[in-house]
């Protein structure tokens, strides 16, 4: 919802807010320039003295005005000819032309009305409203993404365009909210929608009838410092009934030209004061520095427009097109998708196409858009729910469970839940199970029992489709070809072999970086950005499902490296370990944001065994900042599978690695990496108490052993691995 509130006003109003911001930024320079150029009055100068000086030089003076910048302008008639000049208050003499700056006038008219009069003013006000909606919805998105206001300036991840967008936005949003709200206020004021009109003092009925009282002796003018002056209008020459009109920061009054008496006075109303403050905040007139700051912030708008469009395009590409999607209110089948990377959308598209083919009307949407009251024609609801990480809701399902739990009762429309996950994870389809359990607890009628799809299996999906077809009384054949991310061809440049002696042939494979286009760089696609710990998917020849491997190198290393152990009968590992330099594989990148060392300078405790050491070695290699890193390395035998043995020594000399603790599992006394941890219990506990971050990579059994060992080690400190996990200080990459 918030995203839609951000996306559509952004795309629709892009041109308008770009014009607004560019012209606004240009206009912000003028008040500052005027402030610098205008001769300022000396401190303590009174209006009486100033008016007297000016009148001595221009006897026909009619009006004296002071702009918020301090610029003083006088208007006079000299033998019937009108004259005007910017006045130097020290002398009362004209020093510059008072004509309006034509460039400023042109920009002002563009900025407020596109040269189109009232219609243009309303269009520009709509632009300002769009800017406000964009700022607020954008701020809500940043807060949601960062996990709260406290993390407003948290480090950003992801493709360049998205990062730039947020980077600019979180600084500029303050200025944009200020500029757009004040703009809306000013428009309302211009169209008389606010009661902020000036109060006028009642015109005096009794005047002295005399003329010629000396200006510098008028008490009111003597008491008014020039800094408070806005305007002093002189009476018509020869008209004894006319008066001086004085406007100051405090109000408006009339002065008798015969005796200088104050005849009437009206203070500014509260509304007027508010409107004037808002005018100052918007234009920077009277607050030139603020104006410049706002102008700078406005310059961020075109950049955010461009990056925003790129982000939108990238998001669109991730999802398959759904043809003939029906509105939620008219569809018989409501198909809701909870997907993280977008692959579940592909299944949804296949299902939607098959159901539509069978004559059904289907609405497809994200689970986060769950609104049962809109499903007035629905006869069934189908949820395709992927699980993210350790059982969390995937991106497009955020808020679904909260909404379901908060509702009084579940909709009376039969429900089928299909979970998507990877059976090798303990939390297999955990989110789908949570959803199914919550639905059952709410008494939601069941259309089909919970079923699951393992690793995007087309066979599982086809089987579930037949079951669904049976319930619906139609023949439903779902043949889904998972849409694989666009693959790149990687060429092997070198390989190092290990482990033959311990019956675990393993190779460190190094591939050349593929060429990255500018487009990929902007959108973060392909291999434009990756670091050690991210994953690459490799599709083996003759296989349909890609296998994922942890990267042992980052983009900065200039190559792509993985550590692969050959599994007996393993299709992909077999092909990879047989690869010779010069040969190629096709691969794609899958970011793994949950397994990163982070930017902090707190010590790192890296724990890995076997091929799991690969990404940890990559993290050590990338540790140019010499962050304290303690590596616990479990191997079978130092002579056979001590991966990166030589480099680790070098990295230790260079300060990239503070300490290396190895454990050897083959021999008279098997020693596992968790045993090594226990031996170093005191130091490990000390490090963790001081904020160290723990990263574990390797097999499932090893990870479980490490968690047990850490629980023991941390028991005296009162910390547990679970607490560390919740704080994001204990991350695992387990296979």
């Amino acid at each position: 919802m918030i995203r839609a509130l951000h996306r559509w006003p952004g795309l629709l109003a892009l041109a308008l807010v770009t014009i607004l911001s560019l012209s606004g930024a240009a206009l912000s320079v003028f008040p500052a320039a005027e402030r610098i150029a205008a001769p300022q009055a000396e401190a303590g100068l009174t209006v009486a003295a100033l008016a007297d000086r000016i009148q001595a030089i221009y006897p026909g003076v009619e009006q004296i005005r002071r702009a918020p910048s301090g610029r003083i302008t006088a208007y006079w008639f000299d033998q019937g000819a009108p004259g005007a000049a910017v006045i130097d208050p020290a002398t009362g003499e004209g020093v510059a032309s008072a004509d309006p700056n034509q460039a400023e006038r042109w920009l002002t008219n563009l900025h407020r009305s596109l040269f189109l009069g009232d219609g243009g003013r309303i269009a520009m006000a709509a632009g300002a409203a769009a800017m406000l909606v964009l700022s607020l919805s954008g701020a809500a998105l940043v807060v949601r993404r960062a996990g709260g206001w406290r993390h407003w300036f948290a480090r950003l991840r992801g493709p360049l365009a998205g990062r730039l967008h947020v980077e600019i936005a979180r600084i500029a949003v303050v200025g944009l909210v200020l500029s757009s709200t004040t703009a809306l206020w000013m428009t309302a004021s211009t169209f008389d929608l606010l009661p902020d009109g000036g109060a006028i003092a009642a015109a005096p009925t009794e005047v002295s009838g005399e003329t010629g009282f000396a200006l510098d002796r008028m008490p009111t003018l003597q008491q008014t410092p020039v800094a408070e002056l806005r305007e002093l209008s002189f009476p018509y020459p020869g008209d004894a009934t006319d008066v001086f009109t004085l406007k100051t920061d405090r109000g408006t009054g009339y002065l008798d030209q015969g005796d200088g008496a104050l005849l009437a006075w009206a203070d500014l109303t509260g509304w007027e004061r508010v409107s004037e403050t808002i005018y100052m905040l918007h234009t920077g007139q009277g607050a030139a520095t603020l104006g410049l700051v706002l102008g700078l912030m406005a310059l961020g708008v075109p950049a955010m427009g461009a990056t925003g469009v790129l982000v939108w395009l990238a998001g669109r590409r991730g999802r398959p097109r759904i043809r003939g999607n029906q509105p939620a209110g008219r569809a018989e089948t409501i198909l809701l998708v909870g997907s993280e990377g977008g692959s579940t959308w592909g299944f949804a598209a296949t299902l939607q196409a098959a159901l539509t083919e069978a004559g059904q009307s289907v609405h497809v949407g994200p689970m986060s858009a769950f609104t049962p009251e809109r499903y007035t024609s629905a006869q069934r609801i189908i949820l395709l729910a992927a699980t993210y990480g350790d059982g969390a809701a995937s991106a497009s399902a955020k808020g679904f469970l909260d909404r379901l739990n908060a509702s009084d009762r579940a909709p009376n429309i039969p429900l089928a839940v299909l979970g998507f996950g990877d059976r090798s994870f303990p939390a297999y389809c955990a989110f789908a199970r949570d959803v199914a359990a919550a639905a059952q607890a709410k008494g939601w009628p069941e259309l089909l029992a919970l079923d699951t799809i393992d690793r995007q299996s087309p066979q599982d999906f086809a089987r579930w489709g037949r079951a669904l077809g049976d319930v619906l009384g139609i023949a439903l054949e779902l043949s889904h070809q998972p849409v694989l991310p666009t693959s790149e061809t990687l060429t092997l440049v070198s390989r190092r072999d290990y482990g033959a002696e311990v019956q675990a042939p393993t190779a460190i494979l190094r591939f050349a970086l593929p060429r990255v286009s500018l487009w990929q760089r902007l959108l973060g696609g392909g291999f434009a950005r990756f670091q050690a710990g991210d994953l690459i998917g490799i599709l083996p020849e003759g296989g349909s499902v890609p296998r994922l491997y942890s990267l042992a190198s980052g983009r900065r290393d200039g190559f792509i490296e993985i550590v692969v152990k050959r599994h007996p009968g393993g299709l992909c590992s077999g092909q990879l370990t047989a690869l010779e330099p010069g040969e190629t594989v096709s691969a794609f990148l899958r970011p793994n944001p949950g397994f990163r060392p982070g930017r902090s300078r707190a010590p790192l405790i890296l724990i890995g065994a076997g091929t799991g050491v690969g990404p940890l070695a990559g993290i050590v290699r990338g540790n140019a900042r010499r962050r304290p890193v303690h590596l616990f390395f479990g191997m079978r035998h130092p002579d056979s599978d001590f991966f990166y043995g030589e480099e680790l020594a070098t990295w230790q000399d260079e300060g990239r690695l503070s300490r290396l603790v190895t454990s050897v599992s083959r021999g008279a006394r098997p020693h596992y990496v968790q045993d090594a941890l226990r031996c170093e219990a005191t130091q490990v506990a000390e490090l963790i108490r001081n904020g160290a971050r723990v990263m574990v990579c390797g097999g499932r059994d090893m990870a479980a052993g490490v968690a047990d060992a850490l629980a023991e080690i941390l028991a005296p400190t009162g910390l547990t691995p679970a607490v560390l996990k919740a704080e994001g200080r204990y991350v695992e990459d387990v296979y």
Binding site: P82, R105, T190, I200, S233, T245
Partner: protein, 156 residues
């Protein structure tokens, strides 16, 4: 329609004898190239003693700027009811404003004066830009304003 409204506005503002006798009068105001945004103009009538009698036309739609037409504003207290139905757009530099109104015969040769106040954003306010006595002889004789008006004439 415009002239009808103008007559109505005048009849409510002015209680003049013999108002039934009215004739169409064309007021032509041409501005000089003063190099600013559109000018606000207030056209109104005062009597022999200089007291405000009624408004003929207001060029400029935003009442928040009327205070810059300072004589008109002081005379009417900024009362927008005075120009209800006889308000038009502001007049650009170098442009001409031509309006035709049914004016009562009694307004002519009776000591009434037609005034124009003018104001332009970020430029000087020019109250009493033009002040011409309403006489049958004076009809068709152009006069020049003080700052913004190149020529003003009323024709019967």
């Amino acid at each position: 329609m415009k002239s009808l409204l103008a007559t109505l506005a005048l009849t409510t503002a002015l209680t003049l004898p013999g108002l039934a006798m009215a004739r169409p009068v064309t007021l032509t105001t041409t501005l000089n190239n003063y190099g600013g945004d559109g000018a606000y103009l207030a056209l109104y009538v005062t009597d022999t003693s200089g007291a405000y009698v009624g408004s003929l036309w207001m060029a400029g739609g935003k009442s928040k700027y009327y205070e810059h037409l300072s004589d008109w504003y002081r005379a009417t207290g900024g009362d927008t009811a005075q120009v209800n139905g006889i308000t038009g757009a502001s007049v650009g530099a170098g442009r001409t404003l031509e309006i035709t109104l049914d004016l009562a015969d009694a307004l002519f040769d009776a000591g009434y004066t037609l005034h124009i106040d003018a104001a332009v954003e970020d430029m000087r306010d020019s109250p009493n830009e033009v002040a011409v006595p309403l006489t049958t002889d004076g009809a068709g004789t152009p006069v020049t304003g003080r700052r913004y008006i190149a020529s003003f004439a009323y024709d019967m």
